[in-house]
């Protein structure tokens, strides 16, 4: 073995996640729903417990050791996020309640504050509802124009059609880095280049992007990048908005409250500088520290190594699933993350999930909060298997065996 060859010790990583040492109905857990939320490694649980147990107080307030300590931990978590996405400075990292909250923040501040009626926002047909609804609300509120860039049958962005939508009126392009339903990795570098050429900003919904590959916001030159902690093996309740500092500086505040002000008099308030301007109230302190621990965990394994492992699982699962009679995979993009949507001729996704659940296999079924995409695909629902750093080929085998059982049941 050369020194460049890294051994991906999936069994060791799997052992870091306590859920996999437990049985459900006497069967081991085959967890193929990391796209909805990832399981948590012991390191994250331990770190959060330790903060609550001995390093906890409110942040940015007290003049005593515990508060200074929790403030340090919270700000260290911000620095950990900064380094993880290679932002220029930690002040460009805003902690939010989640990715949905982060997109709403941008819609309510950048959108309401800096866009005017007639300005155009482009999203795509494959967006999660959290990257559709805030823009529809902004459209109805401010009179902006909302356009949907179409996708091809393979589930890729229809680039010529996107080019046709992009005009000098386009002020923002908001799209998924990676589709939560189809796994398509969008050509974000090209999109950013084209959008910047007409003076538009770009927001990437990185919920599925950040977990499957390394992200460098400076190399991308992206204006906004949002993601949630819980899909990245961290706790729920916290997410990240990255934005270029000049934008954060120009944007009006989101919520009013403590910690987001420089001064308050009866007449008026002065805003604090970013990121505090966007973090009103007591933030998700321990969750942010937990996210930091999760990032340290995945960084120690290496995002490249995780991406390579998941790619192997994607290819293996795609090949194995082809042998299941009547199964159709939706989304055949060339550039695809380890997320597989599928339907079966003989069974509704709900039927599949019920049988798979009995076999200990956890998958997501339904419209995946992407109803416009379901309409585009011409289905009311799909089943989705999504893979994480802890999944194995044995998981895929158990999954395919369960699908064969579904076929035997309903076929």
């Amino acid at each position: 073995m050369t020194k460049d060859e890294v051994v991906y010790d999936v069994d060791a990583y799997r052992a870091d996640f306590p859920v996999f040492s437990k049985d459900i109905r006497g069967k081991p857990v085959i967890y193929l729903d990391s796209g909805a939320s990832a399981q948590k490694p012991q390191a994250v649980l331990d770190r959060m417990m330790a903060v609550y147990a001995g390093e906890y107080a409110n942040v940015h307030r007290g003049a005593y050791w515990l508060s200074e300590r929790s403030t340090t931990l919270y700000e260290e978590a911000r620095e950990t996020v900064r380094a993880f996405i290679n932002a220029e400075k930690a002040e460009e990292v805003v902690f939010t309640m989640g990715a949905t909250d982060a997109i709403n923040l941008v819609a309510m501040t950048f959108g309401r504050g800096l866009l005017t009626a007639g300005d155009e926002v482009i999203i795509t047909e494959l967006e999660h509802h959290s990257n559709i609804v805030p823009w529809q609300m902004l459209r109805d509120d401010k009179g902006i124009v909302l356009k949907f860039a179409p996708i091809t049958d393979a589930g890729e962005l229809d680039m010529p059609a996107f080019d046709g939508l992009l005009t000098d009126k386009t002020k923002l392009v908001a799209m998924a880095h990676t589709s939560n339903v189809l796994g398509t990795i969008l050509p974000v570098e090209t999109v950013i280049e084209k959008a910047h050429a007409v003076g538009a900003r770009v927001l990437l919904d990185g919920c599925q992007g950040i977990v499957h590959c390394p992200v460098d916001v400076q190399a991308l030159d992206v204006d906004f990048y949002v993601f949630s902690s819980h899909k990245l093996y961290g706790p729920t309740g916290v997410g990240v908005l990255y934005a270029k500092y000049a934008l954060l500086d120009a944007m009006p505040p989101f919520r009013g409250g403590g910690d987001m002000i420089a001064s308050v008099t009866k007449e008026k308030s002065e805003w604090a500088d970013p990121p505090a301007k966007f973090e009103a109230g007591t933030p998700p302190i321990v969750q942010a520290v937990g996210l930091g621990a999760a990032i340290n965990y995945v960084t120690a394994i290496g995002m490249e190594a995780i991406a390579a492992h998941e790619h192997d699982l994607l290819l293996y699962a795609t090949q194995r699933m082809a042998s299941v009679p009547g199964l159709t995979i939706h989304g055949t993009a060339t550039n695809k993350a380890a997320v597989i949507s599928f339907t079966m001729e003989s069974a509704h996704p709900h039927d599949m999930a019920t049988i798979l659940d009995r076999a200990g296999v956890c998958i997501r079924v339904g419209h995946h909060c992407a109803q416009p995409l379901m309409e585009r695909l011409g289905v009311s629902a799909t089943a989705r298997a999504s893979f994480g750093l802890y999944n194995t080929r044995a998981d895929v085998d158990a999954f395919v065996k369960a699908l064969e059982k579904v076929h035997a049941f309903f076929g």
Partner: protein, 152 residues
């Protein structure tokens, strides 16, 4: 004691199976597979709704699968309610058939007096009625009992 599905326990379209008979039949099954096969068979015997009856108005919201329900009032006396239910998922159709066994052809008072949760528990199907399963069983029960309330 396991046995191949379809044997001995059958349900023709006209046969009136009571919920207690269903519970008895269920007790003969050793494992979940046989129980599900039986439920699915019940669903297969359910008459389909016509396409034009599968309207938004007849649809139960918030389910992973699509479920439509149509009540019919029989003035009697005694006044009774019957229901026709359809779904695009096999297991949900089967669960709909169980709903019909539980509720259909009864008076509004009887329908409102039925403890559906307890009966489903006897069938070991109570995991299906948890609202977060979103398979429509909880909504079916609620819809049927609301319809009974209106007719009472």
């Amino acid at each position: 004691m396991g046995r191949p599905h379809g044997e001995r326990v059958t349900l023709s379209q006209n046969e009136k199976l009571t919920i207690d008979e269903l519970v008895e039949n269920f007790e003969l099954f050793d494992d979940w597979e046989d129980r599900y096969r039986y439920i699915i068979d019940l669903g297969k015997k359910l008459p389909n709704l016509a396409e034009e009856e599968k309207t938004e108005a007849n649809k139960i919201r918030g389910c992973m699968s699509q479920v439509w329900i149509i009540p019919e009032v029989h003035e009697g006396p005694p006044k009774t309610l019957s229901f026709r239910i359809d779904s695009d998922a096999h297991i949900v159709r089967g669960l709909a058939a169980v709903m019909l066994i539980l509720f259909s052809g009864k008076t509004p008072e009887e329908i409102l007096a039925i403890d559906a949760d307890a009966k489903l528990k006897e069938l070991d199907l109570d995991s299906h009625i948890s609202p977060n399963r979103r398979n429509g069983v909880a909504s079916m029960i609620q819809t049927i009992q609301n319809m009974a309330k209106i007719s009472a």
